[in-house]
């Protein structure tokens, strides 16, 4: 076998090979526009990966820009509520119970005379924590189990898919009321755990399907023919090509998980005082909706905006990452 890969006559050989070298700068189009694909769509400039392509799209999408700004703001006040609310969310002044807006207290007071504005700001922490942690947990568990089921198939697949079906079958609210009513902890973790438990099958199914699709690609076969092991095929070839749909579903799920936490808290099964939560405040306020609607409107508005922002972000990410899903 020759020492080097470059036989002398290979360079400057007058055949098509080197001609393509010369022509290489002009990227071309060989795919038929017949497939409904606009011709000439290949970028010519710098290398662009899926992520930079997606980022390029996202930056130009006003829906993304608006929802991202809202979310950044929410995350910041979830971490440092003191930045915009100097009061104490627990300080009660019964004399001012249910009073409307006053200077320094733009949202008014609640039944116990606590400042609604401060409570709305502090409530973001619970919602954001539950949303992000539950999503992270469900996404990790779901993509791990779903991915393994999709990759190995056979018994693994049957077992994990049936397991997912069982969890799918649990009615969310009923399950929440039953499971969480026996929990006494006042932290967010039982709620996060419950949502993860019920949320992973949805993400798992998406991950499974997307791994099965990616697995069939010729480049995975090519890696196998080279002698690549399972780990390399999964991490290097399948995961990067299967992750986009998972991210999309997870982002959209985040919004719904926040809404779910509020619903559970409203029903008394979710977070419990003294945790400050929009759901709990909405629940308390609903009794007094005729006398003091402001107590309900502000936390409910904050919740709606938050859920909407995450769902819109999910939509924008989906459009950017997976044009085929549109």
């Amino acid at each position: 076998m020759p020492e080097s890969y470059v036989p002398k006559e290979a360079i400057g050989h007058g055949d098509g090979g080197t001609a393509a070298l010369a022509m290489g700068e002009a990227e071309s189009l060989e795919r038929a526009p017949a497939a409904g694909r606009p011709p000439g769509g290949e970028p010519t400039g710098k290398p662009r990966s899926l992520w930079s392509d997606a980022w390029h799209d996202l930056r130009r999408n006003p829906v993304f820009v608006v929802s991202a700004l809202v979310i950044v703001f929410l995350v910041v006040i979830a971490i440092w509520p003191q930045l915009i609310a100097t009061g104490n969310p627990y300080r009660a002044d019964l004399a001012k119970a249910q009073e409307g807006a006053a200077p320094g207290h733009p949202f008014g007071y609640d039944t116990q005379g606590r400042d609604v504005y401060t409570r709305v700001v502090y409530g973001a922490r619970a919602s954001i924590t539950v949303g992000t942690c539950a999503t992270a947990g469900a996404a990790l568990l779901g993509s791990l189990l779903g991915g393994l089921a999709g990759f190995f198939g056979g018994w693994w697949d049957t077992l994990l898919s049936r397991l997912a079906d069982i969890f799918f079958g649990i009615p969310v609210l009923l399950g929440g009321l039953v499971f969480l009513s026996v929990v006494t902890s006042t932290t967010v973790w039982p709620v996060v755990g419950f949502i993860v438990l019920l949320g992973w099958p949805q993400i798992g199914r998406i991950a499974r399907g997307s791994v099965v699709t990616a697995k069939q690609n010729d480049y995975v076969q090519a890696a196998r023919a080279l002698g690549a092991g399972n780990g390399r095929m999964l991490l290097r070839h399948i995961a990067p090509n299967a992750v986009a749909p998972v991210i999309v579903v997870a982002t959209i799920a985040l919004g719904t998980y926040i809404a779910l936490e509020a619903t559970l808290s409203y029903l008394g099964a979710g977070l419990k005082p003294p945790t400050v939560s929009w759901g709990i405040d909405i629940s308390t306020a609903s009794t007094y909706i005729r006398n003091a609607p402001h107590m309900l409107l502000w936390p409910a508005g904050a919740l709606s905006i938050t859920v909407l922002a995450f769902i819109m972000l999910g939509d924008a990410v989906r459009d950017a990452l997976d044009p085929k899903l549109r």
Partner: protein, 343 residues
């Protein structure tokens, strides 16, 4: 078809200076840049080209099934039986489509509805366009399936598309296209997805039906072999333009455009084991940046200064033939040596 003396009368379809562009994120892709061709009743025009040459886009524009956006017809006329289709309203256009002109696609499986039986899909044509009763339409569907050579048509009329083989599905597509006796059939790579032995059967069927109903046929393909077997006239497309048109025998005997010549030289032949193939150098151009002058000049062994600046018009290169090459005469007579030299 080609028994010499058949004179084709008034053209059935007369495409004049058609222009189509696709507006994409990466710029405007000029997919069709002034294409003109005519098809007469009973004539077969083969449009030959590689992917991206604009051959399918032209056909989609003629059929009125261009995806828009991103595709837009930006100029020209499509005269069909004397009427300019581009000036018709949506509803009138729809009536022409299917009834007067029909299309056959490459991929029969994805062109047929998977959840309806073939009988229902064929019958629907008659129910919708001719107001037949379901029962009567079903009967016509069976007749059609028999006509296109599907064995045991009566038993199979209730089958779904996936229950048929590729060749049979393509026959069903042909049956659907023929159902309303159109005057013009556009077949876009009709046999590309089929095996050779089945390919021959389907092409024969298509040619036979065309003769029987004296239809015009536009055959869009990249396969120089299929073209030689059935076409009367050939239009070769490159980068959205027709670069050469000629009667089939003349084109194969002596091509008048270097691109055509290159294609003919570059295909391996069944009859002998060749040595090195002639290969057209480089790649087809990006349609968002078509080279100035003659679009083929970066790949052409004959290219000179004029080719880089002046786009060649379609020169008349003999009776019934034309070539968009400044040096068509040279290509026609002496090109061979130049191509051998470039090898």
């Amino acid at each position: 078809m080609t028994n010499g003396g058949v004179r084709h009368g008034e053209p059935l379809l007369d495409v004049r200076d058609l222009r189509v562009e696709f507006r994409t994120r990466d710029g405007v892709a000029r997919a069709v840049n002034g294409v003109s061709y005519t098809v007469a009743a009973g004539q077969t025009l083969a449009v030959l080209g590689e992917s991206g040459s604009g051959k399918s886009v032209t056909a989609q524009a003629v059929m009125g099934i261009l995806d828009s956006p991103p595709g837009f017809v930006t100029g020209g006329e499509i005269l069909f039986q004397g009427r300019d289709l581009l000036k018709l309203g949506k509803e009138e256009r729809r009536k022409v489509r299917g009834a007067r002109m029909a299309m056959i696609f490459q991929d029969a499986l994805s062109s047929l509805n998977p959840v309806l039986t073939v009988g229902a899909q064929l019958g629907e044509m008659f129910e919708v366009h001719e107001g037949m009763s379901r029962k009567k339409a079903r009967g016509r569907a069976v007749e059609l399936m028999e006509r296109v050579g599907i064995p045991a048509a009566r038993e199979r009329v209730g089958d779904y598309p996936h229950q048929f083989s590729g060749g049979m599905r393509q026959r069903i597509m042909i049956a659907m296209a023929l159902a309303l006796r159109p005057d013009l059939i556009i077949a876009d790579e009709p046999t590309t997805a089929l095996d050779v032995t089945v390919q021959a059967q389907v092409m024969d069927l298509l040619a036979e039906l065309q003769r029987e109903f004296t239809m015009g046929l536009i055959l869009i393909t990249h396969d120089l072999g299929v073209v030689a077997d059935v076409a009367d006239t050939i239009a070769v497309m490159y980068a959205g333009r027709i670069v050469e048109t000629a009667p089939v025998h003349q084109l194969y005997k002596a091509p008048a455009h270097p691109y055509t010549r290159g294609l003919l030289e570059s295909i391996p032949r069944l009859g002998h084991k060749g040595r090195e193939l002639y290969a057209i150098k480089g790649l087809p151009p990006n349609l968002t940046a078509i080279p100035p002058g003659c679009a083929f000049h970066p790949r052409c062994p004959l290219a000179r200064d004029i080719c880089r600046t002046d786009p060649p018009p379609l020169y008349e290169a003999g009776p019934d033939r034309a070539s968009a090459c400044h040096f068509w005469r040279e290509t026609l007579d002496g090109g061979k040596e130049i191509f051998d030299g470039a090898r």
